[in-house]
């Protein structure tokens, strides 16, 4: 029974991953990722890792995927255009993919007899996880909270902005696009010095919010 279930869910995960890559619509890709996450959760359950399976559903399939879908819908993402395929990539990629598959297949075939698909032998209870987390892994646990705090702080710093510091309004070391926008305190002659004779960038699109300031 276990091998059958394993192959069903493993196949589902692989199929979902392939679908994730080949879909043109971002929303279909995101939904394929949900399928991968769900199939992985089932595999964890088969291994006896109930807690990890539940977390997988709650965190990945729940929170993170909802966020993905939200962003895709909010940004109104368009279907991706087929990228120009380079000949080098094709000439190298397909043979290398073939070698990889052959090698993996060979390894699986060589060891297939020795592998037993068993499950449920190492059931880990939540109590054991908590024990490990708050005893032997106490320091990493606490350090992770610093990591999250720093991440949140950085994200807020970069995302929240005031009117006068909208992104992309200033070009370091080059002539400013419109000198009157920049609060320089000296004359224009010395400020428009073009460092190293680099061309002034005019090809970059102006940020929408800089338009508002100008008007």
């Amino acid at each position: 029974m276990y091998p059958v279930l394993f192959f069903i869910f493993a196949g589902l995960a692989v199929a979902g991953a392939i679908s994730l890559l080949v879909q043109r619509q971002p929303i279909y890709s995101a939904l394929s990722l949900v399928a991968v996450m769900g199939a992985l959760a089932a595999l964890y359950l088969l291994l006896g890792a109930e807690f990890v399976a539940a977390i997988q559903i709650i965190v990945y399939a729940g929170a993170i995927m909802v966020l993905f879908v939200f962003v895709i819908m909010l940004l109104n993402a368009q279907p991706a255009e087929a990228p120009g395929r380079s000949r080098v990539a094709r000439a190298l990629g397909y043979p290398l993919l073939g070698i990889l598959i052959a090698e993996l297949g060979g390894m699986v075939a060589a060891h297939f007899q020795n592998v037993k698909l068993t499950s449920g032998e190492y059931v880990v209870h939540v109590a054991q996880i908590g024990d490990a987390l708050f005893r032997s892994y106490l320091l990493p646990f606490e350090a992770t909270s610093i990591l999250f705090l720093a991440g949140i702080l950085g994200a807020v710093l970069l995302a929240a902005h005031t009117e006068d510091e909208a992104p992309g309004k200033l070009y370091i070391g080059e002539a400013p696009p419109e000198p009157n926008l920049i609060p320089y305190d000296s004359t224009e002659g010395s400020t428009t010095y073009n460092g190293a004779g680099q061309p002034v960038r005019t090809d970059l699109p102006a940020h929408p919010s800089s338009e508002e300031v100008r008007s």
Binding site: S136, P140, L147, L149, L157, D164, L170, G173, D185, Y193
Partner: protein, 485 residues
Amino acid sequence: MHVPADYYLRILPELVLTATAVLIMLIEGGARLGSRAALSGTVALIGTAAALASVAVQSAHRGEAFSGMFRVDGFSLFFHGLIIAATLIVLLLSIGYLRAQRLQRGEFYALLLFATVGMCLMAGSVELIMVFIGLEISSICSYALCGFWRASARSSEAALKYLLLGSFATAFFLYGIALTYGASGSTNLYVIARSLSDVLAGHGSLILVAAALMFVGLAFKVSAAPFQVWTPDVYEGAPVAVTAFMSAGPKAATFAVFLRIFYVALGRYSHTWFWMIWVAAILSMCLGNLGALRQTNMKRMLAYSSIAHAGYVLVAFAALGEHGISAAMFYLACYVAMNLGAFAVISNLAQQNERFIDLHDYAGLGFRFPLQSVCLTICMLSLIGIPLTGGFLGKLFIFKAAFQNHLVGLAIVGLLNSALAAYYYLRVIAFLYMRPATVEVSQPQRSLSMNVAMVACAVGVLWLGIAPNSLLNFVVHSAGALTGR
């Protein structure tokens, strides 16, 4: 769970820094707009100075903490001191810099301190999971700091490039950890070393792949070739204070991790990973110095120079053994001092919107701004490796270690590169003192903290070059502790 008090004393600098960073976040939320930037800066300075002092407390309580995950020995003490001192200098120069750029926001200091916590954790951890978390804390703070100057398109570009490539490198490192765990059954460096010596045969190829993957991740962070491509763009785009920070602390912390992982955990396999280091050292030195020759933007030039200096440290790394470790540690101390000194001067002269960042702006400044020019000259001479400066002794020990371990080719390439590098460092001095001014550079903002930073670095460089005995003794002892003697 009962945690012994000793454990807390062993991570005291980290605790002090974290508490200070949280306090700054509270100040930013609470204090009035006019006063809070200055207040945050002062609090950050006091907190960092306290953290530096608490390294002394830490040194009185050597040993392991938190189930053998964290280790206070000479090696980690050295890097704790170096990293926190570097942060102190960066804080001093960024207080003046942020005021000149009108970018005074306390989040800058909080992120800087969090990054320092991450780096200290990297320096003291003997557990790959902890190393990874420390690396991530410092990296994520660096990504955010790169984009701190939001009005500048270059700054945002730098942040995005660094984030994308850095995440990629981190994934490599994590994969390497996973394979190491697969081969040895543990993530503790000392346990890995033991179990790898038990199961000698069979796991060689797995360990080689794991070492290669971890090498990719770490070489990216120290900007060693061939993983250095991001460095010039990110260093150029980030605000000067952040560039100064990135070129000093994270490099030292990553090299600490590098040395610990490869010497302690994978020491028995040095014959397999030795060649990776050798090739990376040669490539870093050559690509860095050749790239720097044609740069006129000071930040970009120092970016290439930092690639080259990563190469010199890798030479010491490849020299295997205690001499190599102590040479690498000493060189890192010199490198941090001279690089931070150069960046302190650059950030002072850059002024608002970083107008004066090009080499041609420096023409004729030598006699107009004597303090800045003298400090910059000392740092440049040290970067070349002129006697009486720390850079000279650092290079001397590195090449001596390389010769002692019969790496004659590597040492000769390094010496040739040092001669090549003299060209672009000396050019800065020549512009300062021997060229007439072409650009009218206005008087830089008077800032006591910036002056302190510049003078401290210059004095540090000279001190390391003239009276290095106490530091050298310490370094040699702690290198012995790392190799287990």
